[in-house]
């Protein structure tokens, strides 16, 4: 039964390490270093400073400090000279815009205060979503260290006019000589920009446009071109799916930009139907973690499994191979056949043949889930053309290169080839928002604005036309690429005029431009509804080719992936993203080689836990195709034996702050944009790596009833509170020698909570994918400090909201094993085998705002107290930092300011410079050293909502209350509201049969409610 399952957070914990046990008992893992502070005896004796001197200094400094404190500083207040009409100081303005930075694409809303963007939220009307990266991109706007500030030529400042003149003359010269020039950009998905580039190319026939994505999905696009006649990515309507079978496609992560919204929309237990999702994968991905059934399979076997499915569905006899998981493959085939047109097969292999096979299976299934008409334009990169470009450059066949927001010198496997080629080029111009190696190596560096400073349009799929508008005056002397290309094409209109004209002529027609701009999007009526393309692809031969390519695999296999935090590495200088813990490994500030427990045992790798809760790792030298990198190893439960996982996007150093220069650049191994590399050699090398990983810190003291998971069948058939089999049983305690429900016994007097608002936050564990957008949204909304790698390592991270990741395995607890009479060795082996493929559950954890809060009773100065609306309030100015509250909190959600994290050169992140501070929310105080802080349930937001209603003289509307995390949540897992308003969504959720409180037997009566996780394990 669900509640008997053993939940664990790390391999060490599973082994029953004594350190982990000790750690689980201490709120603060590090002892206070009194010895270091007082110094040793010898030094004290030899010191020339006597006790008298010491007292003198103390007296003098105390007196000086108090005298200095007597006079307040003189504060200037400088109003606008001419106040813009739409700005009222102190009132936030929201603008609809869209982000398209080459890797992340979304329709978003931007909150601005006094003309500064401070937060990004999804534009839900436009079906927009946000991820951790999109949420954090607002901070990248203020990256004064990395952003280009003015046009330069060979490192020297030049005016835009001079740059235009010189580049224009050179371009003209190259045009007359008909020497080839290449315009190298990332995917932009912007129709108007495509048109401008088209005109630029028409004007200069010697120019060729090549699209390059650092993380390639070229294979899928090529397969679509061959099969459906359009070079784009297929779209998937996973909300309508009955069966989803994925071969390594991380579609909740970065595969085709992510589908978590649609996926979760199809998994609502209360409707009685949930899609059944099987994931065959080698790396433990977010998608695998959220699947109903996860099958561990190394990449080469994934190919055969895919072919076996192809054979089984189409009846073809493509040569394949038996895989170790054929029974599961057969189960998956059965499920696919049963679901018929409501089934879909996806594969994450960036290989044209594999993608073609998947498309063929979907065709054979007559799948309605895959959409090959309304396609996605967000990955247009073409690996073949990029490879051609490099060989041309090396051969000296390219005379000019104009690059835009790409950094091939960092992100190309063959970057040395690119570097050699660049030296042979006559004219190299880099248009870029941020400085990077490629910009540095180019003749001209022309700064472009951040998307929050830009005009633009986007078309991610063929239905939604999005608009981008500036939300701040340009911070630096920048110019958009569109304006630049228009100028170089001899067109004198500004891009804004061009865009407006383009949108009205081609998209909006008679619809209002202002309205579209206000909404941030416009729904285009799709012209084509049916795929009429006749494909001439011979799938059988392609499948055979695929089989033979996988058959040649030998040695270890390496599967590249991108992290939820850093993605392709564009925002590597963003401290929020660096500090963001990976949802799976819970490690921040690093990438590493993920290795299965079995391989780690054989190869001799381990992750010892130090007594301060930090974990260490060994280094491995990984060699692919003769190129080696040395990376630290993280032993990862659920990693396929014989395969490794390694994240791209790390190891960037050029121009980054020293603290951000972390991790290892894996791009040199990323040959040909292939996310699978076979024939990998590995060797253990000396050295110990220090991880900043929070997975063994903040464990909830070995308590039970933290997580509740049930199957869909149980949910439908078993009464939740059934005494024997119930999947949401209340906890029982012994009272008067009788078992009674814990919530019937109370030490405390109950408050009357029926008057006014009473806030509850409901978190649906079924819908939470662990994506972490809420974590970054909380950072932005509440001015949560970044503390850096060393501090995170010792468990001093400041995240008010963390997402706990629990592993669970079917083998029951150690105690049960004992009962079964297993020896210690057998127990360990049994547990370890299970750890090879654990189930994963995510649980967002923040202050639970207990109505009977243990923290409130122990505060000696009453700094933390209870509000009538249900919040556990924290008055920072009253706190003296005893930390009793944190010790008494069973949820471990209180955070202590060990240092001053603002205006402190030791913590050189966004709160230590004038630009970075612009992102701070003016409604929330920046906490100082020595005080405790924690989630406030975004009281500044609820207060603002109430004030708005008061000013308008009306009651608060139903579902008007929001917190930062609930508004950022793409899947709707987090719902916030007023339980005293019976119409409010959360009122029903609080009474739902899935609702439970974490550690309810402690009777803390939290205002945060969790909904039992339901998995569709029974039916296909």
């Amino acid at each position: 039964m669900a509640s008997n399952k053993k939940y664990w957070q790390s391999v060490e914990e599973l082994k029953g390490s004594s350190i982990v046990e000790t750690l689980s008992k201490n709120e603060f893992v590090e002892e206070i270093a009194t010895d270091d502070f007082l110094g040793d005896k010898e030094t004290l004796e030899n010191s020339s400073t006597s006790r008298r001197d010491f007292l003198k200094y103390v007296g003098f400094t105390t007196a000086a400090a108090s005298l200095a404190a007597c006079e307040g500083p003189v504060r200037k207040s400088i109003p606008y000279v001419v106040k813009p009409n739409d700005v009222t100081p102190g009132v936030a303005d929201w603008y609809a815009t869209s982000i398209a930075d080459g890797y992340d694409f979304a329709n978003v809303l931007v909150k601005t205060r006094e003309g500064r963007p401070i937060q990004i939220m999804p534009n839900k009307e436009a079906n927009g979503t946000t991820s951790a990266r999109i949420q954090a991109s607002v901070l990248s706007l203020y990256d004064e260290k990395l952003r280009l500030k003015e046009p330069t030529k060979a490192g020297k400042t030049i005016t835009w006019a001079d740059a235009d003149k010189e580049i224009g003359a050179k371009l003209n010269e190259l045009k007359l000589a008909n020497k080839p020039v290449v315009l190298l950009t990332g995917s932009m998905a912007s129709p108007s920009t495509d048109k401008i580039i088209g005109e630029f190319v028409v004007n200069n026939p010697n120019i060729k446009h090549v699209v390059y994505d650092a993380v390639s999905e070229s294979g899928a696009a090529e397969a679509m071109l061959a099969m459906h006649g359009e070079r784009a990515l297929p779209n998937y309507h996973l909300d309508k799916a009955k069966t989803i079978v994925s071969f390594g496609a991380d579609f909740l992560g970065d595969f085709h930009g992510g589908f978590e919204k649609q996926f979760i929309a199809g998994r609502k237990p209360e409707t009685g139907h949930m899609s059944y999702h099987v994931q065959f994968e080698s790396n433990m991905s977010l998608t695998g973690a959220n699947s109903d059934k996860r099958v561990v399979l190394k990449p080469s076997d994934q190919v055969f499994a895919l072919l076996n499915v192809y054979n089984a569905i189409t009846g073809a006899g493509v040569p394949s191979k038996v895989t170790p998981v054929d029974s599961q493959v057969n189960d998956a085939v059965k499920a696919l056949k049963k679901a018929g047109s409501k089934a879909v097969v996806l594969t994450g292999l960036n290989d044209k043949n594999a993608q073609l096979v998947a498309l063929a299976i979907n065709k054979a299934l007559n799948s309605e889930i895959i959409d090959t008409v309304n396609t996605l334009n967000i990955r247009q990169g073409n690996d073949v053309e990029v490879a051609q470009l490099i060989s041309d450059m090396k051969a000296g066949k390219v005379a000019g290169l104009i690059s835009y927001n790409v950094d091939p010198l960092y992100s190309l496997a063959n970057s040395s080839g690119f570097s050699d080629g660049l030296k042979k080029i006559e004219l190299s111009v880099a248009l870029s928002t941020e400085n990077n190696e490629t910009v540095n190596a180019s003749n001209f560096a022309l700064p472009t604005p951040h998307f929050l400073e830009s005009w633009g349009d986007t078309q991610f799929d063929s239905v939604t036309y999005g608009l981008t508008q500036p939300t701040i005056q340009p911070l630096f002397n920048t110019r958009q690429i569109q304006d630049t290309l228009l100028k170089w094409s001899g067109n004198s209109t500004s891009y804004y005029e061009y865009l407006k004209d383009f949108a009205i002529t081609n998209i909006l027609g008679s619809s209002s431009w202002n309205k579209a701009l206000h909404n941030g999007f416009y729904n285009v009526k799709s012209i084509q509804s049916e795929d009429l393309f006749e494909s001439a692809v011979d799938v059988t031969s392609i499948a055979s080719a695929l089989a033979s390519s996988a058959k040649s695999a030998s040695g270890f296999e390496l599967n590249f992936y991108t992290k939820t935090g850093l993605g392709d590495g564009k925002q590597a200088n963003n401290p929020w993203l660096q500090e963001f813990p990976d949802p799976i490994t819970r490690a921040s500030w690093d990438n590493y080689l993920m290795m299965s427990i079995a391989d780690a045992g054989e190869l001799g790798f381990s992750n010892p836990v130090k007594d301060n809760g930090a974990i260490d790792g060994d280094y491995a030298k990984v060699t692919v195709n003769g190129v080696s990198v040395t990376v630290p190893v993280m032993v990862q439960p659920g990693q396929a034996k014989g395969s490794f996982g390694l994240a791209l996007g790390y190891g960037k150093t050029f121009g980054l702050k020293e603290e951000m220069q972390v991790g290892v650049n894996a791009y040199p191994l990323y040959n040909g944009g292939n996310n699978i590399q076979y024939n990998v050699a590995i060797e253990k090398v000396s050295g110990t790596h220090k991880f900043a990983c929070t997975q063994v810190q903040k464990t909830i003291a070995g308590r039970h009833d933290i997580l509740k998971v049930a199957s869909l069948k149980e949910y439908k058939t078993v009464a939740p509170k059934d005494h024997k089999n119930g999947w949401n049983k209340p906890s029982y305690v012994s009272y008067d020698h009788q078992e009674v429900e814990a919530n019937t016994i109370d030490l405390w007097d109950e408050h009357n909570r029926e008057v006014g608002h009473h806030f509850n936050l409901s978190i649906d564990l079924t819908s939470c994918t662990g994506c972490g957008a809420c974590v970054v949204a909380c950072h932005a909304e509440n001015n949560v400090a970044v503390v850096g790698k060393n501090e995170v390592r010792v468990g001093r991270d400041m995240h008010w909201l963390r997402i706990d990741r629990y592993y669970s395995s079917e083998v029951e607890t150690r105690e049960e094993a004992k009962e079964l009479g297993l020896s210690r060795g057998d127990t360990y082996r049994a547990l370890e085998t299970e750890a090879e493929n654990p189930e994963v559950t995510f649980q967002p954890m923040m202050c639970q705002h207990c109505n009977h809060a243990p923290c409130e009773t122990v505060c000696p100065v009453a700094a933390t107290s209870h509000g009538r609306q249900g919040q556990n309030q924290m008055a920072y100015n009253r706190c003296v930092g005893t930390r009793y509250c944190a010790n008494n909190c069973p949820y471990r959600v209180r955070r202590f300011n060990w240092f001053n994290y603002s205006n402190n050169n030791e913590f050189d992140f966004n709160m230590n410079n004038e630009y970075g501070k612009m992102v701070l929310n003016p409604d929330v105080v920046v906490r100082s050293r020595g005080v405790m802080e924690k989630c406030s349930m975004c009281i500044q937001m609820t207060q603002a909502t109430i004030l708005k209603a008061k000013k308008e003289g009306r009651a608060v509307n139903t579902d008007e209350f929001e917190t930062a995390c609930s508004s950022a949540c793409t899947t709707g897992a987090m719902v916030f509201g007023d339980v005293n308003n019976k119409e409010d969504k959360v009122a029903a959720l609080a009474q739902d049969k899935r609702a439970y409180n974490v550690l309810d037997y402690l009777q803390t009566k939290p205002n945060v409610i969790y909904q039992v996780k339901i998995k569709n394990t029974n039916e296909a």
Binding site: G72, K76, I78, E754, G867, S936
Partner: protein, 429 residues
């Protein structure tokens, strides 16, 4: 902080107005011998109501200066122009030329009668009646006397009473001595005896020490509690801006300039373009304007320079009457500073509660120099929250919750504190 007793200010005002009335009683009768005061007053009234937004007598504004305009144009020409200049331009070449003066066309005034126009023109010729400057100064001088008198009077009275007591005491003593009572030892000698007694009495010593310590602690805590409390803080601003002139004398609504107070958490220091709404047309103060600024009395000469500072900030060329685009923001010094850990929202208090600004900011309309009136301490906030009843004024928001709370606390009207306005988290986040 300069404190002026209210009653003496009232006296000053009464005295001033009295002298002015007296002066007018005499001056008008003497003045009327060579100027037709009735025509002048009527013309002035019309001019002020219709013409001053674009014209002045002695200076170019939107339109030309109009002082002695009849010397430049014929009376008939002017009448035609004033009544309907657009029509007039069509028939008169000279008028068409005159219209070139400015791009903005002048409003037509067909409603004015010939008599009224004559009155206006009469006023432009004779100008304003002379200001009662000299007499006023005398009046002001006299009132200053009445300002200072009570203080020294009180001192003298007190001294006189004490002296009288002493005389009576010595008289009584002499009388009793004369009556044959034994001669008592001198006052100093008896004090010495008391001191000797005190030195021997331990209880008294302990008592006095405790008393001394308590007084000391009281004074110390009183002093320490004042640290960081800036009541009366009155920094010297870059521009001698007088709230008294704007909010007091001219009765400009506080929220005309501090317009964000009703929408936002900050009341908003007005941007310079708000100043220019009026000061585009008001480039100088009237003759007798006085402002007490940093202990100095500013007159017209100084104050006109202050208005020029506003022009410099806005980039306004007062000669050419156009914006130059060279702007220089004004650096005001913030008077009311709340610590960062306090959240205060003006709109909650102004729009929802309907409080007058003066409730916290004091009689701003009487302050030349702005100063912090209230202590702005937490105790001060809480006291008000405890006592103030919620103003419902048909606010739907409060309807339900107030009814329930009133029942709970068994009161007619709940206070802010009962509504939750005393919770830490409501202001500290």
């Amino acid at each position: 902080m300069k404190s002026v007793p209210l009653h003496s200010r009232l006296t000053t005002l009464l005295l001033k107005s009295f002298t002015i009335i007296l002066f007018f009683a005499f001056s008008i009768s003497s003045y009327s011998q060579d100027v037709d005061a009735a025509r002048q007053t009527e013309g002035r009234k019309l001019f002020k109501s219709l013409c001053t937004s674009c014209h002045k007598l002695d200076k170019k504004l939107v339109g030309p200066a109009l002082g002695k305009v009849e010397e430049r144009r014929e009376n008939d020409w002017l009448k035609s122009w004033i009544k309907n200049n657009a029509e007039f331009q069509k028939v008169n070449a000279d008028a068409a030329e005159a219209a070139e003066f400015d791009t903005s066309a002048m409003t037509a005034f067909p409603q004015l009668s010939d008599k009224q126009i004559d009155d206006i023109l009469y006023y432009t010729t004779v100008g304003d009646p002379p200001k009662p400057g000299v007499v006023n100064e005398i009046g002001a001088g006299a009132s200053t006397g009445s300002d200072g008198s009570p203080k020294w009077l009180i001192y003298i009275l007190a001294a006189a009473i004490i002296v009288a007591f002493l005389i009576i005491a010595s008289l009584l003593k002499t009388i009793s001595e004369l009556k044959g009572a034994p001669k008592t030892p001198g006052a100093i000698a008896s004090l010495g005896e008391v001191w000797e007694g005190f030195k021997q009495n331990t209880f008294l010593k302990v008592l006095c020490t405790i008393f001394g310590l308590l007084i000391g602690a009281y004074v110390l805590f009183g002093t320490l509690f004042k640290v960081g409390v800036d009541e009366g803080y009155m920094p010297l601003q870059e521009i001698a801006f007088s709230h008294k002139i704007h909010a007091g004398d001219n009765k400009i609504d506080c929220q005309y300039c501090h317009s964000s107070a009703k929408h936002s958490k900050t009341s908003g220091i007005p941007s310079v373009n708000v100043c220019m709404n009026c000061h585009k047309n008001i480039s100088e103060v009237s003759e007798d304007t006085k402002v007490e600024w940093d202990g100095v009395t500013y007159g017209k000469a100084e104050l006109d320079k202050e208005i020029e500072k506003v022009y410099a900030a806005a980039g306004w060329d007062a000669e050419e009457l156009e914006y130059t685009g060279v702007e220089k923001p004004i650096k005001w010094i913030r008077v009311h500073n709340l610590p960062d850990f306090v959240y205060f929202n003006h709109s909650q208090h102004v729009t929802v509660a309907g409080l007058k600004c003066q409730k916290c900011h004091g009689p701003v309309e009487e302050m030349d120099e702005m100063r912090q009136f209230s202590p702005l301490t937490m105790g001060w906030c809480i006291d008000c929250h405890k006592d103030t009843k919620v103003d419902l004024k048909d606010n739907e928001y409060y309807a339900k919750i107030h009814k329930e709370l009133a029942k709970k606390y068994n009161v007619d009207q709940v206070t802010i504190a009962q509504l939750g306005g005393k919770e830490c988290g409501k202001c500290h986040y």
